[in-house]
């Protein structure tokens, strides 16, 4: 089979490109102190929060956009972005599904997220974010009984100021990087989770994000705190409608794990990647970091990234506690003109800390992706161990995959292993499968899914099925 045909096979149209007609209350484009004050006021925030935001804003003004990533995109005009958009009547927020705008429910239907069914059937509490405001939260009562707090970050700022003051910005400081500083200044919504000591969260927590209003940046802020001996599994999934302008997304996710706590954070990301020329896709510049503060604490990041025009993302673990564990399992698929620079950072500080990195990159079309990983072993991290495996799979011959592993070893007792492979879906592999009666499309899916198995098995069951389906859709093409 000719390479051209193979590339046709992996081309597909974004199946979730539609725009819901809901009026948004949007501030005019541009960013200054008054816009930040507007956001803070809209959210009904206390004075200290506004000051926090303004401090971040002032630091952001002094910073420069990073340029070290293996990415290529036109300069972003931050004054052309509108920083707040909410469904029209924020003060009349629906209290139950019955009160939710039917059009919004329809949107979820189209996305394949029948909220009520899904929540009821799967026992998943869904804090659905539509643009910037949480629309509805289910299963609050059940969580309440267990003492688990799961709400929007805005509610948390109002209702749990002590927890916010204690933890917000302690994992990702306000001025950590350019995009994190911007987020700190203008974040509009996101989730907050607190699992108290000794509690295993009774259900998987899930949030679906969806960017809707045109030209509106989305700045989510998520903070998850797992107290001593507590456990939680959190699922994040994203889709976005088709739009012409590039949409900036700069989220910040902070995870705090205290002694013996375990946080599992899974992401399936399927944002609009742009048309065949790469126009109109989402720019996804995210800062995700976990702080394993307590001894024997553990954080596991699992991500399946298929969307976005540009992805800049390195979910990281700071392994501070003695014998704490960090894991990173990632599948990144790029197609068309997508670009992705993603990976992880494992910072070993405490004694006996362990980390595992498994990264699977699949590049098709004209896409380009890079794995960038840092393993840093500090002087006090005696007996620290890391195992890294990153594999790339190329489909066609116009795509690229690059690996940038960085290691900083400050301790001779550490063990660091790194394995990397690059392979290509060969025409001979496809011929072999088809000669057994398997269609071309199924053969590609089979080969790609086989390649990703190690990561998919880390996902919660329900998500794994979704991820496999998503991969198949992503690589779906003109065949048949």
């Amino acid at each position: 089979m000719a390479t051209e045909e193979m590339e046709q096979l992996v081309r597909r149209e974004y199946t979730q490109g539609f725009v819901t007609d809901i009026e948004s209350e949007t501030v005019p484009p541009g960013l200054d102190e008054s816009v930040i004050a507007f956001i803070s006021q809209k959210k009904g925030e206390p004075e200290w929060m506004l000051e926090w935001r303004l401090d971040a804003y002032h630091q952001w003004l002094k910073m420069k956009e990073p340029s070290w990533a293996h990415l290529n995109y036109p300069p972003i005009d931050y004054q052309a972005i509108s920083y707040f958009s909410a469904p029209k009547k924020p003060e009349d927020r629906p209290q139950s599904l019955d009160e939710v705008d039917p059009k919004l429910l329809e949107t979820y239907e189209k996305l394949g997220i029948p909220l009520h069914e899904r929540a009821a059937l799967a026992g998943v509490a869904v804090d659905a974010v539509f643009d910037s405001v949480s629309v509805t939260t289910t299963f609050k009562e059940k969580l309440g009984e267990a003492g688990v707090i799961f709400c929007s970050i805005s509610e948390a700022i109002r209702d749990y100021p002590e927890l916010i003051k204690q933890y917000l910005g302690t994992v990702v400081p306000k001025a950590d990087n350019y995009f994190a500083a911007l987020n700190s200044a203008v974040f509009t919504d996101g989730s907050f989770v607190y699992v108290p000591e000794g509690v295993t969260c009774p259900m998987e927590l899930s949030t679906y994000f969806r960017i809707n209003a045109a030209n509106t940046g989305q700045f989510e802020r998520t903070l998850i705190i797992c107290d001593k001996q507590a456990q939680v599994s959190y699922l994040e999934g994203c889709t976005a409608p088709m739009r012409d302008e590039n949409q900036l997304h700069a989220a910040v996710v902070e995870l705090v794990a205290l002694e013996d706590a375990y946080i599992k954070y899974s992401t399936v990301q399927n944002w609009y990647p742009g048309d065949e020329q790469g126009r109109g896709g989402i720019y996804n510049f995210v800062t995700k970091r976990a702080d394993c503060r307590g001894d024997r604490s553990k954080v596991s990041w699992t991500q399946v990234e298929t969307g976005s025009a540009i992805t800049w993302k390195y979910p990281s673990c700071v392994l501070r506690g003695k014998d704490s564990v960090g894991e990173f399992y990632s599948v990144a698929v790029t197609n068309g003109r997508q670009q992705a620079d993603t990976g992880t950072k494992m910072i070993h500080i405490g004694e006996g800390t362990k980390s595992t990195i498994v990264s699977k990159g699949i590049a098709a079309g004209n896409s380009d992706q890079a794995y960038r990983g840092l393993v840093k072993i500090g002087p006090r991290a005696k007996g620290a161990r890391n195992f890294t495996q990153c594999d790339s799979l190329l489909i066609g011959d116009r795509c690229g995959a690059h690996t940038f592993p960085y290691q900083e070893i400050g301790n001779s007792s550490a063990t660091v292993e790194h394995e990397a492979t690059t392979s290509k879906i060969g025409e001979d592999q496809l011929f072999y499968c088809r000669q057994r009666g398997i269609s071309e499309e199924d053969a590609v899916n089979m080969i790609v899914n086989g390649f990703c198995k190690d990561v998919f098995q880390e996902l919660p069951m329900e998500f794994a099925v979704e991820a496999e389906a998503l991969l198949n859709v992503t690589l779906e093409g003109a065949v048949g």
Partner: protein, 250 residues
């Protein structure tokens, strides 16, 4: 069953098959022999649908269907299966998964439903025992890290599970020791019945001691220059190919 008429095939502008004719009927076992570079493997590859070859003229029909008009997978679904000389490795895809996907794709094409998992596992285990393969093999990635002998056994295992109408075997004996060859030959022989046919491509007569052909064809320079029964193979073994070439030129 299979009718190849005046087949001309080129690879990168070079003509490999130059007017090949061949008829295979149900129940028959045919062996194609010939010197290196005569076009033996080209014939089975073209029938299977390998796109690296260009058919410039001639025809191939299988049970009345125009094979050259069919997609690769349609040919397999129709019952044309090729056992590869060099089976490719597919990392991460388990053998059991490939077998299941292939079997169900073929069943679906025939309008049968998927085979229930317990029934499928029973079938596969039985065939593996016959091929003297360890059950752990099912969980290994397709051909990855397999020895030459394991790869060839795997090809025959697939045949036993998929039950093709016409099994084509491309140099299935290459790289096999005598014990492995016996197992492979037993596997192939178990496929023989009145409805099925086998087309073997081989360089050596050795294989034909274990899988007795009904017909032996000598392929030289892109054409079948001589056909006979199994005794022809023995004659080739002792006299080489040259006399056939000379005879056909005369």
């Amino acid at each position: 069953m299979l009718e190849v008429k005046d087949l001309h095939v080129t690879v990168e502008g070079k003509e490999i098959l130059k007017g090949l004719n061949l008829t295979v009927n149900p129940g028959e076992v045919h062996a194609i022999m010939g010197p290196n570079g005569a076009g033996k493997s080209t014939l089975s590859a073209v029938i299977a649908g390998n796109e690296g070859y260009e058919v410039t003229s001639g025809s191939i029909t299988f049970e009345g269907q125009d094979v050259l008009e069919m997609e690769i997978e349609e040919r397999a679904q129709a019952g044309l299966l090729l056992g590869f000389q060099y089976p490719v490795e597919i990392p991460g895809v388990k053998n059991v998964y490939l077998l299941k996907a292939a079997l169900n794709a073929q069943r679906e094409a025939r309008g049968e439903g998927e085979m229930p998992a317990p029934e499928f596992m029973k079938l596969v285990r039985e065939k593996m025992a016959f091929m003297k393969m360890d059950p752990s093999f099912l969980q290994r990635a397709v051909n990855e890290g397999f020895s030459g002998g394991e790869k060839k056994r795997n090809e025959i295992l697939q045949m036993l599970v998929l039950q093709p109408k016409l099994a084509m075997l491309d140099e299935i004996d290459s790289g096999l020791d005598i014990d492995a060859m016996k197992v492979v030959a037993e596997g192939v022989n178990s496929l023989r019945d009145a409805e099925r046919a086998i087309l073997m491509v081989t360089h050596y007569q050795r294989l034909l001691e274990y899988i007795e052909p009904d017909y032996v064809h000598v392929l030289v320079d892109g054409r079948i220059v001589k056909s006979g029964d199994k005794h022809l193979a023995q004659e080739l073994e002792s006299r080489g190919y040259e006399w056939v070439t000379e005879e056909s030129a005369a």
